[in-house]
Symmetry: C2
Subunit: 208 residues, 2 copies
DNA sequence: CGTGTGTCGCTTATGCTGTAAGCTTTCAAG
DNA sequence: CTTGAAAGCTTACAGCATAAGCGACACACG
């Protein structure tokens, strides 16, 4: 039952190597050849475990989703949902190069469905009707994934980085952005993410 | 000054053709050769107007953003912002194949910055302080782009389409999703999008 | 202890891709 | 009419996903 030298590859190992590779080199750099090399194997050998590159990408999304930590059920519904979305955002920060795959190729697996079921259960348990629970799920998920993507890509007007910096813009043409320049240096993305969560959850509580 | 037959290509024409092509054939199908063919020209000719494919993609995002319709200033701030995000979502529905580019390669152009400036001006004018205006911008934009992406890709559990259907899932394992199956057929995405906008804007008004 | 048998990795080959380099055609200005 | 630049064309290259077929090893069974 020991992994013989021959049987060195399997789907799991391939997907995890792909995630590691993309974490390191970026999504564009991923090719079957290079991933094979990473595993000490020729490109075509990967096809024994994965039907094509698209399925490889989907598998990477699975791996990512597997890292999502669902909070225990005994917490209050609101804190549980908060914590779940924090964990979701953590995925983006830990795998900024892989995360976009999750947005572009949403999972179609039982794992993904199970997550949704869990979410709905929590909200139904809190007293929301089925339809509101669905709306809440989509609003919160939309917000979280949109925010996380923006954070990964770097917000426009961030003081440092390659994107346009607020302070370099003409104060006459862009007074409001320029004014923000002062604040931008000390913006706390954790607090900012939480702000949006607050708005949505407060609104939801109002519909209970 | 008349466009001679020779001078048939220019950046604008190329970008618009690219958007049209991707609308029709999908993002993956876009190649310099095929785009050239679309314009009756060899692939390499495109490089006289666009430095590389990345810049082409960025230019397509520009074109998309150019289609965004900003509501006039004389409306109330809330309705103006609502209308702006509705227009944003419309982009996604009109160009579902191109829109993901906007999320993955956010624009770094003056056009984009000008949009932000406009947004901030509206919110500052409504009485929000600079920092809250920034938070609001990011929360709303995150929500809108995340929701639009989800809508484009097709929500999980949508009754029709290739994604997993709620009603095909075992009612025992996934009671909450199954229960939704009844509602899913008549979900109105317009109303759903508006629901999230309501939550966020109501919360924001509370901080005025 | 043979001897299949099927799994899995390797080799080779095809038709794409983006794009560098250099050539040629065309138009406009002097 | 000459000259120069702009812009299209041709060719070429390295890298891509992946189809097809080959060969070697690991295990199951006699």
């Amino acid at each position: 039952m020991v992994a013989t030298k021959r049987r060195s590859l399997d789907r799991r190992r391939i997907l995890e190597a792909a995630v590691r590779f993309v974490d390191r080199e970026g999504l564009e750099a991923l090719s079957m050849r290079k991933l094979g090399a990473e595993l000490g194997v020729e490109a075509m050998s990967l096809y024994n475990h994965v039907p094509n590159k698209g399925a490889l990408l989907d598998g990477m999304v699975e791996v990512l989703l597997g890292e999502l930590e669902l909070p225990p059920e005994d917490e209050g519904w609101e804190e549980r949902i908060r914590e779940a979305y924090r964990s979701f955002r953590r995925l983006a920060r830990e795998h900024p190069n892989v995360f976009p795959l999750l947005v572009i190729r949403p999972p179609d697996t039982m794992d993904g469905v199970w997550l949704v079921e869990e979410f709905l259960k929590t909200l139904r348990g809190a007293g929301f009707d089925a339809e509101t629970a669905l709306y809440a799920f989509r609003a919160l998920s939309g917000y979280a994934s949109g925010y996380a993507m923006a954070e990964i890509r770097g917000f426009a007007m961030e003081p440092s980085g390659t994107r346009l910096g607020a302070l370099t813009l003409s104060p006459d043409e862009f007074p409001n952005i320029h004014e923000l320049g002062i604040h931008l240096g000390k913006v706390d993305h954790d607090a900012e993410f939480e702000f949006g969560l607050d708005l949505l959850l407060a609104g939801l509580k109002g519909r209970l």
